[in-house]
């Protein structure tokens, strides 16, 4: 009789501990989970009968993980119908997250667009809590409208010891902050030592493309820039083929890539 491998497709139940609405369509779910993922990793979350979807971890702590989920598809519609005490199914964590150790002692610039903030939230939280572990911390956040702003409580807490710049594409009448795409706030960031900068860029494809170009234009070396990619995935473990770009699999080799690697990932 041959040895039987463990089945990586079997999900484990995870109880919903709390649900926190961020916007009308983005809710943060706190789920009971024993392990500690790396910032930037993701899980395959599922609702039996509706299917699986890859969702990034936005924060974690002792005995729990948090995921911010946007209601945009069949699986996430199903998750939105669930309440604390009910059970989601998870398998993971998967992928390579942010290189937190490599960011230590550096001038960290985080540029996030929309729900792209979710995967990088735990990195910001980490360095806001341990502010002495980075030279400087600049957080640049772009949202479509003021109603799309995520993690409002966090933003207030971060701003106590960190430079947080928020911009929106389309203001409402009450908005008093910056208006414009994220590249229009980047020039306001003061950089003393280009070589000390590590920049993290996460967001929609166009936002990532132009933010990366602006960072390079500013003189930040290519291998000091990190991006996190989002792709369709079915398996999360390198088999289904949906997330392949060139010879890399976003689920295995990413989702976080150094730009020196990512620049050759042409879809």
């Amino acid at each position: 009789m041959t040895e039987v491998a463990a089945n990586p497709y079997v999900p484990l139940p995870a109880e919903i501990l709390s649900v926190h609405p961020e916007t009308a369509i983005d809710f943060t779910y706190r789920l009971a989970w024993p392990g500690r993922p790396q910032p930037g990793q993701f899980f395959e979350a599922s609702v039996p009968g509706l299917g699986e979807a890859p969702i990034s971890v936005c924060d974690f702590g002792e005995g729990y993980i948090e995921m911010t989920i946007r209601k945009v598809g069949r699986v996430t519609d199903g998750i939105f119908a669930m309440r604390p005490g009910q059970t989601l199914f998870l398998r993971g964590p998967y992928g390579r997250g942010f290189p937190v150790e490599r960011l230590e002692g550096r001038h960290l610039i985080v540029a996030a667009g929309g729900t792209g903030l979710a995967p990088v939230r735990s990195v910001i939280n980490h360095f806001v809590r341990h502010r002495d572990r980075v030279q400087a911390l600049d957080v640049l956040l772009g949202f479509k409208t003021p109603a799309d702003v995520l993690f409002r409580d966090d933003l207030t807490a971060w701003a106590r010891n960190t430079s947080v710049r928020i911009t929106v594409d389309r203001p409402d009448q009450a908005w008093q902050g910056h208006v414009g795409v994220i590249t229009t706030v980047l020039p306001h960031v003061e950089i003393e030592d280009l070589g000390a900068v590590e920049a993290v860029v996460v967001g929609p494809p166009m936002m990532m493309k132009f933010t990366v170009l602006a960072l390079l234009d500013r003189g930040i070396p290519e291998d000091h820039i990190w991006v996190s990619y989002e792709r369709r995935m079915s398996c999360g473990i390198g088999k289904c083929g949906h997330c392949k770009i060139n010879d890399r699999y976003v689920c295995l080799d990413g989702p976080v890539f150094n730009l020196s690697e990512a620049r050759w990932l042409i879809d």
Partner: protein, 356 residues
């Protein structure tokens, strides 16, 4: 607990060659079918693409007479390991139950290119990432390869160019003759089934050495340079395919090495909360392959899809696994309704590297 990847039934290094009459060969196949499951290319009458034509694809056979030996099968043998649709789990009341897997051997009749094609599937399903795909692995452990010798290169074939015309990975090899069948058995269980049937022979399989549609495979290092320095992915040559390809995905579904799939849950309409999680073939040429919730997608023009597939088959798989994914079976060219030739495409890439 990970399973060692070399945990397959290996063929023995030497074997027993016999010449069997057709009746004796029938008896051997019948014994194999009793011992396990015999999967071979067989004819499905009237199921072909055109009216009144037959389809030849893999299926279970119980007699030698059903095996289509003289022509290339329309579909590849990958179905034996990676079915078109497969139930992964039954989900019910918080439990995930795996379907039972039969442990009997599968005697799979196939050609040298297809044995090499299954090696390429092994790369994706077993060696890409830290965890093997258990569904594939369980089938793979049941497989015994029965090599059907090719007397000559068939239409559109280019296995020699791809270095996939030869294999030593077979448990049994066969050569059809007008008056019977040569067999070489390199497996203890099969040797027991063969016993002392027929008469001794000197048979060992030969391999084709000339292609019907030879190709010049581009050097991976030169391809890397062309991708980085000359923007090969946006070269004019792909625009031609944008105009011709209709994104039907036949090249993908007939390919022995195309391994992509999508999973979906199918609710049980009779039992609330019960569902099956299934996977089914997916293909990079077919719409929605890259669609994400929220509306983003990639490679919307069909030329980019041709480029993506071509590079996977003759470039990026090589970068991960050290051998080309494409084995030159030519089924993509056999079945493209727009007469797009993949072998011609490979040659065009080589020409672009030479001339631009």
């Amino acid at each position: 607990m990970p399973v060692p990847m070399d945990n397959f039934p290996r063929p023995e290094s030497s074997g027993n060659s016999r010449f069997l009459s057709y009746n004796e060969f029938e008896a051997l196949v019948a014994a194999m079918a009793r011992d396990g499951c015999v999967m071979a290319p067989r004819r499905f009458a009237g199921r072909g693409r055109m009216s009144d034509t037959d389809l030849v694809r893999y299926g279970e056979v119980t007699t030698a007479g059903e095996i289509e030996s003289g022509i290339k099968s329309d579909f590849s043998p990958k179905e034996a390991l990676f079915p078109v649709q497969q139930t992964l789990l039954t989900l019910n009341a918080g439990q995930a139950i795996e379907p039972p897997e039969d442990g009997r051997p599968i005697y799979l009749f196939l050609r040298a290119c297809d044995i090499n094609g299954i090696d390429r599937l092994d790369g994706i399903f077993l060696r890409n990432g830290p965890e093997p795909d258990v569904y594939y692995l369980r089938r793979r452990q049941r497989i015994r390869f029965v090599l059907m010798e090719c007397a000559r290169s068939l239409t559109n074939c280019f296995c020699v160019s791809m270095g996939a015309n030869r294999t030593d990975n077979y448990h049994m090899a066969i050569r059809w003759q007008p008056d019977g069948v040569h067999v070489l058995v390199r497996d203890r269980q099969l040797a027991g089934l063969l016993s002392t049937a027929g008469r001794p022979s000197e048979f060992s399989p030969s391999f084709v050495t000339r292609d019907d549609a030879p190709v010049r495979v581009p050097d991976p290092d030169r391809l890397t340079a062309a991708v980085r320095e000359r923007d090969l992915f946006n070269h004019e040559m792909w625009k031609d395919y944008a105009a011709r390809c209709i994104a039907c995905g036949r090249c993908n579904t007939h390919c022995v090495t195309c391994s992509c799939f999508t999973t979906a849950d199918v609710p049980d309409e009779r039992v609330v909360g019960r569902a099956e999680r299934r996977r089914m073939w997916a293909a990079c040429h077919i719409d929605r392959f890259t669609d994400m919730a929220g509306g983003h997608s990639f490679r919307q023009d069909y030329g980019s899809r041709m480029r993506f597939k071509t590079m996977h088959k003759i470039y990026d798989y090589y970068l991960r696994f050290g051998r080309h994914m494409c084995v030159g079976c030519g089924r993509c060219d056999d079945h493209c309704p727009e007469y797009i030739s993949f072998s011609t495409c490979i040659n065009r890439v080589s020409e672009v590297l030479d001339h631009d």
